[in-house]
Each structure stands twice: as structure tokens, then as C-alpha cells.
Symmetry: C2
Subunit: 246 residues, 2 copies
């Protein structure tokens, strides 16, 4: 068991979508903010990591189970815990509760540490992680098999200045934006995800265009984010009909 | 003098741009969150306003003076005050301070109240506003003259699902995204705004495409957000060279 950190908040208007549900990319940004707050409270803030060690945390995989989406005005509690790490990966859970303590969202995220200069993944430094009190466990958690097929339906997006973060990367929440957007407004207004698997393969460069490719069969959609350089991210999403349509 | 409300925070990683500065649309979203928090603390939350009165706050104008942009890791304090109101408009200031109390950003925002059903602006109800203790002042604050010329340089954007808020509107911070983006990554990486005037003319419908038009002369740029339906927003931005280039 690692150290647990929590944040309470109320979903503000601007984080809510047309149906009043939280925007999923926001859910990811909020969760990452909570883990950043934990790191800071433990004396190893992202800023320290960058300035003292030239390291940045990079997310490689998400698995999200969405029992019910928090909606505008809801009070939620986001809890996070660094679970375990192996030679390359650190695993962290996020659990989002409603005000009665019911679990709304469960998320497992895999992180690696990247050297900011070389842009290469570094082996995990156990000493650096000590404050989280997560345990070493050589077991590697593997995501699902993502379809390798060429997907015919696609939407193109130009990389925007505000898609980029301080590392010159496209912020990882943006990929989910593109992935969702490929399904179109009508589908997104009438459906909500109940499970999301997302794998980051390769960073998107700071200019040019990407294609968000999708193949949907009923309530399951498969996704690829592609550019001339190949596949950057893959996702599988299971959907359910939206019942809270405002 | 109206009631004053403050929030303190630290700029997180995901709100920072390539240069480490806060993303300007985020600055607007944060400020609006602070005014929402004030409204809630005074017992007239956005949610109440909507549920009990079918009213939503709509921003019509911003004037921002940016002395220095808050950057990643900076502790800031956002202060807001409902200054005055007249028959149609409510004026609110936002002041952003650094941890030493120095003023980083000054913003004046004009709001109107829209009826959610009719989508029409309603005259201000002084009784509703009483808790803010702002004063009635019939003086209408007018922004600058925006150029009416056709602008030749333009970038097209498709409206995305996540651009929309619960009112089915494009969230007003998105306009600024489009406005900035029209200037291109190279310009945005090497310049920061020092003054922004932004006027919302007409809401953007939930589908289709908009054009972000721009005309730049040296360090001043003029902007229009247009669609087949005409002009939706106008802006004038004064720029300075970015010195904190990371």
C-alpha cells in the first residue's frame, strides 16, 4: 500500500459537457493534478523533478472504468495512490467518489520517467520514489490487444499551439479529445463511455496534422491516432446510451 | 465597493504553454471559476440561478491588461469583485496577484443575464444581485472600436463536441483559442499579449465551421470570428516579445 492523497472539489460549469457530464479529458487533467499535488506534498514536485533531475512523468496507458460520470455541481473526491513499480513502469490508481462515498470512476495509469534532454525513458529510480511508499513488484501490467487494422473512417486535426505543454509534447489529455471527436457530435451527445483503454505509443510532434481513425461496431469503438510517422496512440472504448440527456 | 472574493492556487503543469506561461484561455476559465465560487458562497450559485430562475450569466466583453503572465509552479491569488451594474450589464473585475502581492493581470468583464429558454438577454434584477453589494450605476462601459474591414488571413476550425457547454453554446474561452491560433505557432511561441480587448457579438451554433480571421500590423493584431451567419466575436490584441522563452 502506497501513500494515499485526496482532493475534494465541485464540478464547475466550464468542465461540463452538453449533457452536464464532466468532459472526460478534464477528468484526466484533474486526476493528474491530484497526483501532482501529492508529489508536491511529499517534497518531490514535478518542478523539482525537472529542475533537479531533468525528469518528467509520462503516462503510457490508462484503463478507466466509468460507473457513473460526475456532473455539473456534483461534489466529488479524487483519491490517488502510487501502487507499485517495476524496472520501467510506475502504476497509480485514481478513484473518484461522489459525496456519499460511492465509486464513480476507477482509473489505473501507467507512468514512465522520461529524461527531458534525451527524450528517452529512464529506468525507475527507487530512491526517488521512496516517499510514495509504493512497493517494487516486477509484474508488468499489460493492456488489451489493440486492433492493428487500417481504419477507414477518420477525421483530421491540426496541432494547435495550446495543444502543447512545456515539454513541447501534445498534452496527453488532447489525444482523448481527438479520439472522441472522431465519433461525431450526435454519437457523443447520446452515449457515454463505460470503459476506456488508451495506450500512448509515440509522442506527437509539435506541428502538422494528425488523423483520428475509428472503427465502431455497436457499442464498442476502436481508435488510432496516426500521422505520417505511424501510430501515436490506440484506444478501445465501450459505450452505453446516455440516460441523463438534459 | 462590492463584496470581494479570493482564491489562491499554484499553476499546474497542464495549464502551462510551451514557454511555461499560463494558457490565456485557462486564465479566463479560472477567473470565471472564482466568480462562480463567490456566487456560491453568497448563496446564488450558477446552478441555483439556472434551476430557480432559468438564467445564465453570459460574458459580452473582456478587457485584460497583462503585466506579466503567471507561469508553471507560480503561486497566484485571483481576486474578484462585482463592481457595478446598469439596466443590462454587470461589471466585474478580476485581479491576479503573485505571491508577493504584485499585480500580474487586471481584467474587466461585462456580463449579461440570458434566459435559458428564450435565449434572450434579460434586464438585470437588482434584488437577485443584492448579495454582491455592487452599486447601480447607469454608466455603460464601452470597449474600443473594432475594425469592420474584411480580413484576408484566416484559419478554419470545426466546432468540436467538447467546445460546447451545457447551454449548447461554444464556451467563451474557446473563442480566444481560435483567435490566438490564427497567428500560428511561431508567433505565439515568441510573443505574449499585453492587452486584450474581446467582444462577443453572437453565439456560435453547435455545429459547422468558423473562420478565425486576423490582420496584424507589427505588435497589434485585429481579429474576427466569422461564420456564414456573420461576425461572432471581435478582438484587438497588443503584443510584446516573449523574454522568458524556456
Amino acid at each position: 500500500m502506497g501513500q494515499i492523497y485526496q482532493m475534494q472539489m465541485k464540478i464547475p460549469f466550464d468542465m461540463s459537457d452538453v449533457n452536464g457530464n464532466i468532459k472526460i479529458p478534464q477528468l484526466i487533467l484533474l486526476s493528474l493534478q491530484v497526483s501532482e499535488m501529492q508529489s508536491e506534498s511529499l517534497g518531490i514536485s514535478d518542478q523539482d523533478l525537472l529542475e533537479k533531475h531533468q525528469l518528467v512523468w509520462i503516462v503510457t496507458d490508462y484503463e478507466m472504468i466509468l460507473h457513473r460520470l460526475p456532473a455539473f455541481g456534483d461534489e466529488i473526491r479524487i483519491e490517488t495512490e502510487a501502487l507499485s513499480y517495476n524496472r520501467l513502469f510506475c502504476y497509480r490508481r485514481f478513484t473518484i467518489f461522489d459525496r456519499d462515498g460511492e465509486v464513480l470512476v476507477e482509473m489505473l495509469a501507467s507512468f514512465v520517467m522520461m529524461n527531458r534532454e534525451t527524450r528517452k525513458v529512464q529506468p525507475v529510480d527507487g530512491d526517488l520514489l521512496a516517499p510514495y511508499q509504493s512497493s517494487f513488484d516486477k509484474k508488468v501490467i499489460r493492456g488489451p490487444k489493440y486492433p492493428a487494422t487500417e481504419m477507414l473512417e477518420q477525421k483530421e486535426f491540426q496541432i494547435r499551439f495550446y495543444d502543447l505543454d512545456m515539454n513541447g509534447h501534445v498534452n496527453n489529455s488532447k489525444y482523448l479529445d481527438w479520439i472522441f471527436e472522431a465519433l461525431g457530435v450526435a454519437f457523443l451527445t447520446s452515449h457515454v463511455p463505460r470503459k476506456i483503454n488508451l495506450k500512448y505509443v509515440k509522442e506527437v510532434r509539435s506541428d502538422g496534422t494528425i488523423a483520428s481513425c475509428v472503427e465502431r461496431e455497436g457499442l464498442v469503438s476502436s481508435h488510432q491516432i496516426r500521422s505520417d510517422a505511424g501510430i501515436h496512440a490506440q484506444a478501445i472504448i465501450e459505450w452505453r446510451k446516455e440516460e441523463n440527456h438534459v
